[in-house]
């Protein structure tokens, strides 16, 4: 119990601190690099929640794929050189107020509702069980996602191609 609490608070601190660097840093490359500890903190939280396969997939796709993609685009466009350009638009205080209000409403709802704790034994979320679930009850979800991936592949290549 103590170990779990310690791990949760440590991971939450890493995730939130890196998240603050991501959203407030004036240097865009610093923001992108700070995304990695944020995503690794979320990975740790998944492991605490008994979702190991999801944790592995999160590191592989988010930290190893999407972060690399974001860094590539930052380095190929002008974003990382505009250090003297203001990075925040004029809606700073209003944006902070709206975001703070949204978070406050969510926290209020979360702490005041008596959540029903389901009874049941935690099954083993092995990759085999997840695979069987994808090819069983969730087959439509799986096939639909494959179609979306194919469309994304073709679309991204078409959009980003140089006009000859």
């Amino acid at each position: 119990m103590v170990g779990e609490a310690l791990a949760f608070y440590l991971l939450a601190a890493i995730t939130l601190a890196s998240g603050i660097v991501v959203v407030t840093s004036p240097n865009l490359v610093h923001s992108a690099v700070a995304l990695v500890p944020a995503l690794l903190g979320v990975t740790g939280l998944y492991i605490l929640l008994n979702a190991e396969f999801l944790a592995g997939v999160q590191v592989l796709i988010y930290a190893g794929g999407i972060t690399v993609l974001i860094l590539f685009v930052i380095m190929l466009t002008e974003g990382a050189t505009g250090l003297r350009v203001p990075q925040r638009n004029e809606q700073g205080p209003i944006g902070a107020a709206v975001a703070g209000a949204a978070a406050a409403v969510l926290i209020a709802v979360a702490t005041r509702t008596p959540w029903a704790h389901g009874a049941g034994v935690l099954p083993s979320y092995t990759p085999g069980a997840i695979g069987e679930s994808f090819l069983g009850p969730n087959l439509l979800l799986f096939e639909g996602t494959s179609v979306v991936l194919l469309v994304t592949l073709v679309g991204a290549i078409l959009i980003a191609r140089k006009e000859d």
């Binding site: 923001s31 505009g82 925040r88 209003i94 944006g95 959009i159």
Partner: protein
Amino acid sequence: MITLTHYLVLSALLFGLGLYAVLTRRNSVAMLMGIELMLNAANINLVAFNKYAAPGAMQGQIFALIVITIAACEAAVGLALILAAYRRFETTYVDELDTMKG
């Protein structure tokens, strides 16, 4: 003792951070990073509900896997659009992309 509420509060804070990034940053790639933070917050919610409120089923994790996949797709297409816009307009700041305004 870590309960469901702890995870919900954490994901609410992360969601607020992502929302702040989308609302106030001028660079489109920075807005995309905020969107990724929001998607991660939603995923934490899904998996936390799966473990605490419905431990027998696996729906939360399955849904979270699909969300990760769709987030990757959306990041890819979004970044392709940003690259194409940069080639055409030479800027990635969203308040300068205003040729359709007025």
